[in-house]
């Protein structure tokens, strides 16, 4: 064991010496180097740690799988990393109710394996986030992460039905419940989703599961100009086709559509979709798997920064054109867009000028851009700000729940 930094003592008293250690190089968040890593095992331990940190003015950054610590802005400070992976128990799986409750530190892969194994059912959490199976449930809530399946199943905003969380002052609270239809009390779930570790440490989540449809069919469109590809997207929206995913990859000039349904249903939907564009074709077997691979976690695969982008449906073509112009300039660029929603991610060179060009283009189209993976040290990258009054309200919410600014200070940029 390395020598214990002076601050470890008080925390070790709260969670036991085995759950506190000095931070190492692997614990760095970009260029920020925390002093301590604490791994509490219960909600009450989380509360004790947060209370102690807040009393001492230490900044705490919650960490789950550690897969997305570079999302959002650069925290101003980080004294303590609060590792949630000790909170990884499955609390309940009620397959007949399509609901499960689990510790926020449980990894997505572990959850899928558990709920998938329920005899007599075939269900899962319909989330395929870019950070993959190692991400924890709490981290997925905090980042509002999602992947191509968002087209049909939404994000954590749609799947989270309840949570237990701890505020910086040690208050332990619950919101929602474990039934999907529920309007009792304020919907604090929604504040937690996408809060990037700045409002509370999530310790337990209740999630909606979905049945896995038995049959899948994939349709691919390759080649063509932005407007042609977008013509396909619009035609799909008008057709009796309910895609589970509809990914547009650019500069690949590709659209991948998948329907998941009953045997007859999948077959016919795929046929209809394939008839909507001259270059569209149904692919199966190994080829379908190959396309699935190509789309998965796409913009994260290469080097560089990754930004989230969203534009109105009618602005998808001009967005693709802007991305194509960026491609023509020669810089690395890689866009994966949910074609039925107008939201997705783009990878760019870690160059503020490239980001600025894309941001202005997206905002000009009535959309917005935020950061999902920033270059380690960069702190001056501009993203789309919220409406000014909304921003004041966000600051007020942050102040109401974390008055001392203990949790991930700075990560949200403008709200603290």
């Amino acid at each position: 064991m390395s020598t214990r930094p002076p601050e470890a003592g008080p925390l070790a008293e709260l969670v036991g010496p085995g759950a506190v250690r000095a931070a190492g190089a692997a614990d760095a968040i970009g260029d920020l180097r925390p002093s301590l890593v604490v791994r509490p095992g219960t909600a009450l331990e989380v509360a004790a740690v947060l209370r102690a940190a807040t009393e001492r003015g230490w900044a705490v950054v919650p960490r789950g799988g550690g897969t997305t610590l570079l999302w959002g802005g650069r925290p101003h400070r980080c004294d303590v990393v609060l590792d949630t992976t000790g909170l990884d128990a499955l609390v309940e799986h009620a397959p007949a109710d399509l609901v499960c409750v689990a510790g926020a530190g449980m990894r997505l892969g572990a959850l899928q394996a558990t709920v998938g194994a329920a005899p007599g059912f075939h269900q899962r959490l319909m989330l395929d986030p870019p950070q993959g199976e190692d991400a924890t449930l709490g981290g997925l809530v905090a980042t509002r992460a999602s992947g191509p399946l968002r087209q049909r199943y939404g994000t954590m905003r749609d799947l989270l039905i309840g949570a237990q969380f701890v505020l910086a002052d040690g208050t332990v609270a619950r919101t929602g419940g474990k039934v999907a239809k529920n309007v009792a009390g304020y919907d604090l779930d929604k504040l937690l989703v996408g809060s990037l570790g700045t409002l509370a440490v999530i310790v337990e989540v209740a999630l909606r599961l979905h049945p896995v449809p038995p049959v899948s069919r994939t349709v691919v469109v390759e080649g063509g100009e932005p407007r042609e590809l977008v013509g396909f997207l619009a035609a799909v929206r008008r057709a009796p086709v309910v895609p589970s995913l509809l990914e547009v990859l650019w500069p690949d000039r590709v659209a991948i559509l998948r329907v998941d349904s009953s045997t007859a249903g999948a077959e016919r939907q795929a046929e209809i979709a394939a008839g909507l564009h001259p270059a569209a074709r149904v692919v199966d077997g190994a080829e379908a798997a190959g396309w699935a691979d190509r789309g998965r976690g796409r913009p994260w695969r290469g080097e560089g920064l990754v930004a989230g982008v969203g534009v109105p449906l009618a602005a998808i073509a001009p967005l693709l054109e802007a991305v194509e112009r960026e491609h023509q300039r020669g810089g690395p660029v890689d866009l994966a867009l949910r074609g039925g929603l107008g939201v997705g991610e783009i990878r760019l060179a870690p160059d503020p000028a490239a980001l600025e060009r894309v941001r202005l283009a997206v905002e000009g189209l009535g959309g917005h851009l935020d950061l999902r993976r920033r270059p380690a040290a960069a702190s001056d990258l501009r993203t789309t700000p919220p409406d000014p009054v909304a921003r004041e309200l966000m600051g007020a919410v942050k102040g109401a729940l974390d008055l001392g600014g203990t949790l991930s200070p700075g990560r949200l940029g403008w709200a603290g």
Binding site: A94, A96, D97, V99, G120, F121, Q123, G154, R157, A173, T175, G177, K178, V179, A180, K181, N182, V183, A184, G185, Y186, D187, L188, D189, K190, L191, S195, P211, R238, P240, V241, V242, S261, S262, G265, A266, E267, R268, Q269, G308, G310, P312, L313, A314, V343, H368, D370, T384, P386, D387, V389, A390, E392, L393, M394, A396, V397, A400, L401, L412
Partner: protein, 488 residues
């Protein structure tokens, strides 16, 4: 009763200057129209009712309230069933009923922007010809407003598949309780920062006044298929529900009615329902082949679970007929029982048989009948407690029975309300579901928007002052008596 202090001098005049004298109501009769919402047992006279026509007018009215520390209650159509729009006697009501413009129909982007006073059904009507609809369909939809839907996060029979209001609101203009204008969300999902819009939806009018809303519209399904299964008992119908869910099928709607309900429907409106212990109405929609194959599966599952008869609608007229009994269930109840109270509880659907058995036991214990007609697919129960307020003690018994049913729901891991909201009615029951610290955190979040608690005070969260009082008797909402809307 104590008289509330009258409005401070000059306030009325200032309000009149903002909205025009005609739109500030102070007469006793006018104010009385606003003294309750759909839950008529709770009543209070506001000091005045103000009816602004634009966001700018709402801002000016709210600023006056803020300046004078005058509480205000936002109100849509007043169809709420939890006393959410119940006036506060020391404040005013701000009604959105004049703000009923559809501002923009943007088919290309599949969205519609409306003023908050627009009726729910008007949105679907505006896009119907183009092949779209607005999915959340509370059965009060011909009158209830989008602003009220946002405040209550309203649902409907079809939210089993399509989700609730919160899944269909993209953006909103919120006038904060101190009169600032915030644009939350927008035309594109995932806007920057905290999801304040998600918090505002379902906040029951306590964090500001929503004046404009951008809604997502949905493509009409290619096919809709409906069946009615007759079962010997609610248990066997419940087993069919469980089997459908276990088969991985998500119907658009799945509604159940018990014998008491069916008998009431038959004796008053002759819906032609089979004589049985429970009826299950299932509707599927989607692309044609998928819809049809799942429909056959559902039919088989009904039969396998003891359905004595399965009726299938072959056209729109037959579909309407199957729904008629379901939709008319509540007004039918009004005709077989002098009074009734609608409970709105949620349970994990696997607990259906157990909870329904518990309700039967309570019927015996209290000597009152309970009719069950509910959203079986998502476990949202609406037990109707039948009573006669002229019989001494009946009203109190009905109320206690309603509370005991909620206790049953909570005991199996359910919730206090699935769609009608907490409002004033259930504020004092919040501690049954949420701990003191849960509620304290909710209050902190609320106060981030409204530190002075001027906006719809006394709703959602309990206070010691509130929780001693008891509501008066229930009377059917005007719309129900008129047969315009049913209570789901």
């Amino acid at each position: 009763m104590d008289q509330p202090p009258p409005l401070a001098p000059g306030v009325l005049e200032a309000l009149r200057q903002v909205v025009g004298p005609k739109w500030v109501l102070t007469g006793m009769d006018a104010r009385r129209t606003y003294e309750c919402d759909g839950l008529t047992g709770w009543r209070a006279l506001p000091l005045a009712v103000v009816l602004p026509a634009t966001t700018a007018e709402v801002v000016a009215v709210v600023r006056l309230c803020h300046q004078h520390r005058l509480p205000f209650v936002p109100r849509g159509a007043g169809t709420g069933l939890s006393g959410g729009a119940l006036p506060t006697p020391d404040g005013i009501v701000i009604g959105l009923s004049r703000m009923r413009a559809i501002l923009e129909v943007d088919l290309e982007n599949e969205r519609v922007r409306v003023q908050a006073g627009v009726a729910n059904l008007a949105v679907s009507r505006a896009v119907d010809a183009a092949g779209y609809f607005y999915a959340p369909d509370p059965s009060s939809q011909s009158v209830c407003t989008i602003g009220g839907n946002v405040a209550e996060n309203s649902g409907g029979a079809h939210c089993l598949k399509y989700g609730f209001t919160t899944h269909h609101v993209l953006g909103a203009t919120l006038v904060t309780p101190d009169g600032r204008v915030a644009r939350l969300g927008g035309a594109v999902p995932d806007g920057p920062g905290y999801d304040l819009l998600g918090f505002v939806v379902g906040s029951e009018g306590t964090v500001g006044i929503v004046t404009e809303v951008t809604l997502r519209i949905v493509r009409q399904p290619e096919r809709v298929q409906t069946l009615l299964g007759a079962f010997p008992s609610v248990d066997s119908a419940g087993a069919a529900v469980a089997a459908v869910i276990a088969a991985g099928i998500v119907p658009a709607a799945m509604e159940m009615m018990d014998r008491t309900t069916i008998e009431a429907v038959e004796s008053t409106m002759h819906a032609g329902y089979p004589d049985c212990g429970a009826a299950l109405l299932v509707e599927l929609d989607g692309p044609a082949p998928e819809c049809s194959s799942l429909f056959e599966e559902v039919r088989a599952l009904c039969q396998a679970n003891g359905a004595t008869e399965v009726r299938v609608a072959h056209d729109e007229a037959e579909r309407a007929r199957l729904w008629r009994g379901r939709k008319g269930a509540f007004s039918a109840m009004g005709r077989v029982s002098p009074d009734y109270y609608v409970q709105d509880g949620v349970i994990p659907r696997s607990q259906l048989p157990q909870v329904l058995a518990g309700i039967r036991d309570l019927e015996g214990e209290f000597g009152l009948r309970v009719a069950n007609v509910f959203h079986a697919g998502d476990g949202n129960l609406h037990p109707l407690i039948l009573y006669d307020r002229r019989r001494p003690g009946d009203t109190e018994r009905a109320r206690s029975l309603a509370e005991r049913i909620l206790d049953l729901c909570l005991a199996v891991g359910g919730s206090l309300t699935g769609e009608h909201g907490v409002g004033r009615d259930k504020a004092c029951q919040m501690p049954k579901l949420f701990s003191v610290s849960d509620q304290a955190v909710m209050l902190r979040a609320r106060r981030a928007f409204d530190p002075l608690e001027l906006c719809n005070p006394g709703k959602v969260l309990p206070t010691p002052r509130l929780c001693g009082e008891r509501p008066g008797i229930y009377r059917p909402h005007l719309l129900e008596t008129a047969g315009v809307a049913e209570r789901l």
